[in-house]
């Protein structure tokens, strides 16, 4: 489960952490991806696992468009940039939920039969549900890919450079908007992957993103902003803490463990486990 949180968080890590833009609509990106995956299944009988690349591609476009249409202007705000970002994306989240309810109705959906759903591999008495297993693999691959991308390609370095000093970057001829639009697209595409995998075992309705959004923020912050590896580590810590807390405290309090660990970590290390900003 922790790796799944990680997978949801990795897209956020890119947007939130690397570009330093608050995105309160992250959960809603996830919701859109899950719906897409559901409809591809319902109308074209494409298994979520197969449709994952399609969903990711669609989300890439969606993320980039959202950036160009809305977020770009929020970042340009001369005053209170932080608050403007928080509330623009928060308003966006509300609109997305409203639109989802308008077009998709508030009915609970889920994909009854998929290649992954409900299947389990049992190794020496330990049950490993396949969706989670695949989720974990995809998530590790995504992290590795993103890590290499950020640190080994010009484009990745451009993103980081743009966050740190947009002015200087403009001087060497990099268009900030193109870089960030690409970054948003990529972040959204990663959420798209997460959504497609989750659609195979989770229920879908307009508010579904809310349950995951806060965990994703905490995961990113726990790992530390600006660090892809941090988000990965954060995901694992969150998953472990959740499982352990549920053994000690009543399960309805299991999130308390996650939150407490976050507070503890930032009190000791104000920039998270591996944060650079």
């Amino acid at each position: 489960m922790g790796l799944l949180y990680g997978l949801i968080a990795v897209g956020l890590a890119l947007i939130f952490g690397l570009m330093d833009v608050t995105n309160f609509a992250h959960g809603e990106f996830l919701m859109i991806a899950m719906y897409l995956s559901f409809f591809l299944f319902a109308f074209f009988a494409i298994d979520p696992l197969l449709s994952a690349p399609l969903v990711a591609a669609a989300l890439f476009v969606f993320g980039a468009v959202i950036y160009l249409l809305i977020v770009r202007f929020a970042m340009r705000a001369k005053a209170n940039a932080g608050m403007v970002q928080i509330f623009t994306t928060f308003g966006l989240a509300i609109v997305m939920r409203g639109l989802a309810q308008f077009f998709f109705t508030p009915d609970y959906r889920s994909i009854p039969q998929s290649w992954l759903g409900g299947k389990t591999i049992s190794i020496a008495g330990i049950f490993l549900p396949e969706p989670q297993l695949v989720g974990a693999l995809v998530s590790m691959a995504a992290f590795a890919g993103l890590y290499l991308f950020i640190h080994r390609t010009d484009f990745g370095r451009a993103i980081e450079a743009t966050r740190e000093d947009p002015g200087a970057v403009a001087l060497v001829g990099i268009d900030k908007n193109r870089v960030f639009a690409f970054g948003w697209g990529l972040g959204a595409a990663l959420v798209g992957l997460a959504g497609a995998i989750m659609a195979s075992f989770f229920y879908i309705y307009p508010d579904v993103g809310a349950s995951f959004a806060l965990i994703a923020y905490v995961t990113v912050a726990l790992g530390g902003f600006g660090s892809v590896f941090g988000a990965f580590a954060g995901g694992i810590v969150v998953g472990l803490v959740e499982a352990t807390t549920a053994l000690v405290l009543p399960p309805s309090l299991k999130s308390v463990g996650i939150y407490a660990v976050y507070l503890l970590v930032v009190f000791i290390r104000p920039r998270g486990l591996f944060g650079s900003i």
Binding site: F16, T22, F90, L92, L99, Q101, L214, L263
Partner: protein
């Protein structure tokens, strides 16, 4: 500059007095209980947002966890009332003090955090509070607390047949929060906060003084919000964790200030005056449709206002000048 500042402060005070007087007279003309209800909520959120603004606007420590203090105020009051028969007026004070103490206790580690780390910490601490109350059997857990109604009484601050006392209390709360803000603007604390916002690094060297002023802001802010919470509990006469400590309250407290103009004296009032009636009306008009239209309208407005007017609606009115901390 100093003279201008003093003149502006006098002018603000006069405007506030006039507005408060007009507000106090509205019940003479507005007899419709639904409109009264909207007015009460507007005043309450104006007051809450004003209090939030002290810490998050003036002091620059953006908190999205103020629901914690709101809920603590509500719960302290009602637990004392239903379990020990302590009158809500004392409960209100007790709730305020408890919240202020907790805010200071939390401030100690929290103020070391920067930016997103701080914001997320505030969200998380409020969530912890919510979960704890959700599981605390003695405090009613998920069942919440129903406030026993024994008829109209000032002593118990509960009224069945009229909303006027609630209206005036909300008005007083709103004025109090405004006045505290007004007073702080010209105080030593206000000075430190401006210094911190203008130049965080330089202010860092002042260390302890600044730290203390932040603690003060947190305590005052939490106290006022808790009073608002206990008012809300008496007004609704039923509380459960979700309805007084949910994350939405943290946002609802911040929104008016953000839309009106964060870190300004008038922003929260203006924001609440527009936002709350709008929320209620969109719900009345579209809420029954079951198709989420109210959400779409509401969300779009938030996006548009935050994008078009990053300094808040207030910037429409003011000529470009340096007003208080809103630089």
């Amino acid at each position: 500059m100093d003279k201008d500042f003093a003149a502006r402060r006098r002018r603000d005070l006069i405007i506030a007095a006039v507005l408060a007087a007009i507000a106090a007279l509205t019940p003479l003309f507005v007899k419709d209980v639904v409109v009264q209800n909207i007015l009460i909520l507007t005043l309450m959120y104006a007051g809450l947002s004003q209090s939030w603004n002290i810490l998050s606007g003036y002091c620059g420590q953006i908190s999205l966890g103020h629901a914690l203090y709101f809920g603590l105020g509500a719960y302290t009051t009602e637990l004392l009332f239903t379990k020990f028969g302590v009158l809500p007026w004392f409960g209100m004070l007790a709730g305020g003090v408890v919240s202020a103490l907790i805010a200071m206790g939390l401030g100690y580690p929290f103020f070391r955090l920067r930016g997103h780390y701080f914001v997320i910490a505030t969200i998380v601490i409020a969530e912890i509070g919510l979960l704890l109350f959700h599981n605390w059997e003695w405090a009613g857990a998920a069942m919440g607390i129903t406030i026993p109604i024994r008829g109209d009484s000032w002593l118990k601050f509960q009224f069945l047949r009229t909303k006027l006392p609630y209206f005036y209390f909300a008005l007083v709360l709103c004025c109090l929060a405004w006045f505290v803000t007004w007073w702080l603007e010209d105080s030593k604390w206000g000075f430190w906060w401006r210094a911190v916002k203008d130049n965080p690094e330089a202010a860092e060297s002042l260390g302890v003084v600044v730290f203390n002023s932040k603690m003060g802001a947190a305590a005052v802010s939490a106290f006022l919000v808790a009073v608002g919470g206990s008012f809300y509990a008496q007004f609704v006469s039923y509380i459960d964790p979700e309805s007084v400590m949910g994350f939405q309250f943290s946002l609802l407290m911040a929104l008016p200030a953000v839309l009106g103009g964060i870190g300004t004296l008038w922003g929260p009032v203006l924001g609440a005056a527009i936002l709350i009636p709008l929320t209620e009306l969109t719900r009345f008009k579209f809420g029954g449709s079951g198709r989420g239209v109210d959400l779409i309208v509401y969300g779009t407005l938030i996006v548009l206002i935050s994008l078009a007017l990053p300094r808040g609606l207030l910037s429409l009115f003011s000529r470009p000048k340096k007003t208080g901390a809103a630089r």
